[in-house]
Subunit: 465 residues, 2 copies
């Protein structure tokens, strides 16, 4: 029995234990955006570091990301195994931080008490990205056991705890210490399959700028009876600004915003039309709204993968309790993000956005436009040995040919790998479209967890051939 | 020494004690809109009832306002003293509930720890309305002591605990049991003086409808990366709706909304121009915004007293924490109120508003428009013996002639008095424009608390002459 078969057999036999370990990791509420969970984020990092040590990786360490300019960064977790002389080096990336779990009352089981139902594992981070990151570690463990402590390729592991808040720590580490992560290809499992049973590689991701617009009117909160009709209202001002950022069809109205948008090739667009996709089914079962929205003349795939968008995520300020308070708040804020596509850049797009927002400042209001974080859009090459190894690995596991898609979300680190390490990334993800990423009842289909481990085992062996 | 002089002397001598009693009442956080404070609201009611009993009023009782259709209503407090045969009956009204104190971090001293600074008493409810309600009770005490247990008029006292949440309890009590509050005139101290040292009667109040617009898009919260460009965004939808409700100059765009707006008389408008008012000073010191807003062609007094307005108070939903969450929320809500002026009615105005909002529902969105509470606009007569008694009383205390103004806020019970009891109301208030009603650092200028008590003593004696 070769290393592949032995590793796959080990992974099958140990599957239930792998799931129990993942549950222990999911119980740690490592919500990176909430300062009160900083200790939990570190605990999740230590949990991963201990497991990397236990399975036999070398040079395990936590890399602190706080700098003189920046306090409170969450640590990177590093490990390597560099004993496969003459073989390529694969950089395995994952993130151990998660999105906030709110609104809590919409979870059927508590977000940090992992629960199995109908072959799925429900928990915040189940698929994004703790579960997928755990596949990497478990594939490495399976290969190490099967190979008597040897791996078919050189491997570096880098895990971050700030993916959900913009990834500033890993970005600056890659800028300043890129040589420490020298590799030939990066492997990222933080995307999804286009449909159940359909092996998928993601070959493009949107970038983003996440911003806040703060509107200030009166010096202090005022009574709307006494001052209504004279005092500016920051919420109404924000509504006027937002209504001018995007027309009712979904076209963004910021001057110059679309100037550098790259149109996908005719081949890529054609391939998208051949994907198994039923727009009405998607509307009814995945989105669940009375209608879909977005720019006319573009398909759902184009709109979510290859066109920039603008969304509002929350509008803090004023009175949000039950009942009535007749306040004109002194200030209100809109959390607004814009998704970018190649060849847009966060710097130029934010500049256009900020200038436009400021130019439409309503009367009586002062606006402050802040950039919270950003990430580059990327398109990765499909023409290299690593992609071929991934396709071959998944053909073995799924018995099907891989489809190439893009993702609408952002994984800023993929751009950092291109920029700082000059290496391609294989985006081999095993989530499903209904896994409720960033939403209540996030889950991971456990069959895909196990198929992911086997696919990664076969991919690493394939890269080493 | 007559009853007036003896009562005034008693009130002067006992002034410090009156303030200490008020502080004890202010320490009770009777926030009527927050269910968790229901016990405190009742405690405030009992506090008032005990004091009415102690000073010698009759028939003290708490009147429950919960009905088959409505649970959780806060009680009314009733007392009377009906021994002045042949004299008019005055209905003294006040409210013992208060607005929420948020945002707490902007208070210089805690909202429910009354603190004296520079001749002012700082606390939530200091002036709105616990302090002004306490003036009534202390004026009654002073007259009862000075008169050996007799009052110069018949008096009924009715205090409510739901003024800040729409006054539904007292409204339905007046509808169903109005005869129990039979009187010749109501006295309400829940308004302010136009300027320091300037005795003021309020002769008009705006009404209001307080509403919520709930926008629903997707069935569950979605990731803005994966669904941005296809899924409807409830916040953007609300922004589009709000931006269409009012133009950028402040004109409300709801069809028919202004049809029944009554223009003040030429005399009233002329009187307003003679009030001591400096618009630039008001902008800079009272509002503190870079510019004032509102309908062009109308003065600040007209805009805040005699024109309808629309304000947004808060927009719950989505992610409002620190940092970033890339969620397209399934739903979001806007808390929107509209102030009404004579001869608008809440029912007709809400109907116009709801129909218009529904007619501009954005694509992909379902809207629900809810009425939270409402109150009628009113204009009260200035030509009766009660107003003349009030003017004479305040001339004695302030040495000045009274000015007649309107208020921009709503005191729905005044409309209920007109409708159900067919009696006029004297709106004799002693707040100041900078008393921070409904805002952090609410205060009551203590000199006005004492002058208020003396004015009410003289008014009640004057009515009895």
């Amino acid at each position: 029995m070769g290393q592949v078969e032995a590793a796959v057999e080990f992974a099958h036999a140990q599957g239930p234990r792998f799931v129990e370990e993942l549950k222990a990791l999911l119980r740690i509420p490592s919500v990176s955006t909430l300062p009160e969970h900083a200790g939990d984020v570190r605990k999740a990092a230590e949990f991963c570091a201990e497991e990397l040590k236990r399975i036999g990786m070398d040079n395990i360490r936590l890399i602190e990301t706080a700098t003189a300019e920046r306090t409170g960064g969450h640590p990177l977790v590093y490990a390597d195994h560099l004993h496969a002389e003459g073989k390529p080096t694969v950089l395995c990336y994952g993130h151990y931080d998660v999105q906030p779990a709110e609104p809590l009352d919409e979870w059927k089981s508590p977000p940090f008490e992992p629960t199995e139902r109908d072959g799925n594992l429900y928990a915040r981070g189940a698929v994004d990205d703790k579960g997928q990151m755990w596949m990497h570690i478990k594939a490495l463990e399976s290969l190490l056991v099967a190979g008597g402590g040897k791996l078919p390729v050189n491997v570096r592991v880098i895990l971050e705890g700030e993916e959900e808040v913009g990834g500033e720590g890993i970005a600056s580490y890659l800028r300043d210490h890129g040589e420490a992560l020298k590799a030939d290809v990066a492997l990222v499992s933080d995307t999804e399959m286009f449909a159940p049973e359909l092996p998928t590689l993601c070959v493009g991701l949107r970038g983003m700028i996440y911003t806040e617009i703060e509107a200030r009117g009166a010096r202090t909160d005022l009574h709307s009876g006494m001052y209504g009709g004279a005092a500016p209202n920051p919420f109404i001002a924000l509504a006027q600004v937002i209504a001018k950022l995007k027309d009712e069809d979904g076209k963004i109205l910021i001057p110059g915003f679309y100037d550098t948008v790259q149109v996908p090739t005719a081949d890529e667009l054609k391939a998208w039309t051949q994907l198994p996709f039923d727009e009405e089914h998607y509307r009814a079962t995945e989105v669940g709204s009375v209608a879909l929205t977005g720019e006319p003349g573009y398909s759902v795939m184009e709109r979510t993968w290859a066109r920039p968008t603008l969304d509002v995520h929350g509008m803090p300020g004023g009175f949000i309790g039950t009942g009535a308070k007749t306040v004109i708040p002194a200030k209100a804020t809109a959390k607004v993000s814009l998704r970018l596509v190649p060849d847009m850049t966060p710097a130029e797009s934010f500049g256009q956005y900020k200038a436009f927002v400021e130019s439409i400042t309503p009367k009586g209001i002062e606006l402050e436009v802040r950039l919270i974080h950003s990430g580059d859009p990327i398109v990765v090459s499909t023409d290299n040995a690593y992609v071929r190894a991934a396709v071959a690995a998944m053909r073995e596991v799924f018995g099907k040919e891989t489809v190439f898609v893009r993702g609408g979300g952002s994984i800023p680190v993929v751009g950092d790998f291109v920029r700082n390490l000059k290496i391609p990334t294989v985006l081999m993800g095993f989530g499903l479209p209904d896994d409720n990423l960033h939403a209540p009842n996030e889950k991971f289909h456990l069959a895909n967890f196990h198929r992911g481990i086997e696919s990664i085992v076969r991919f690493l062996v394939g890269v080493g051939v």
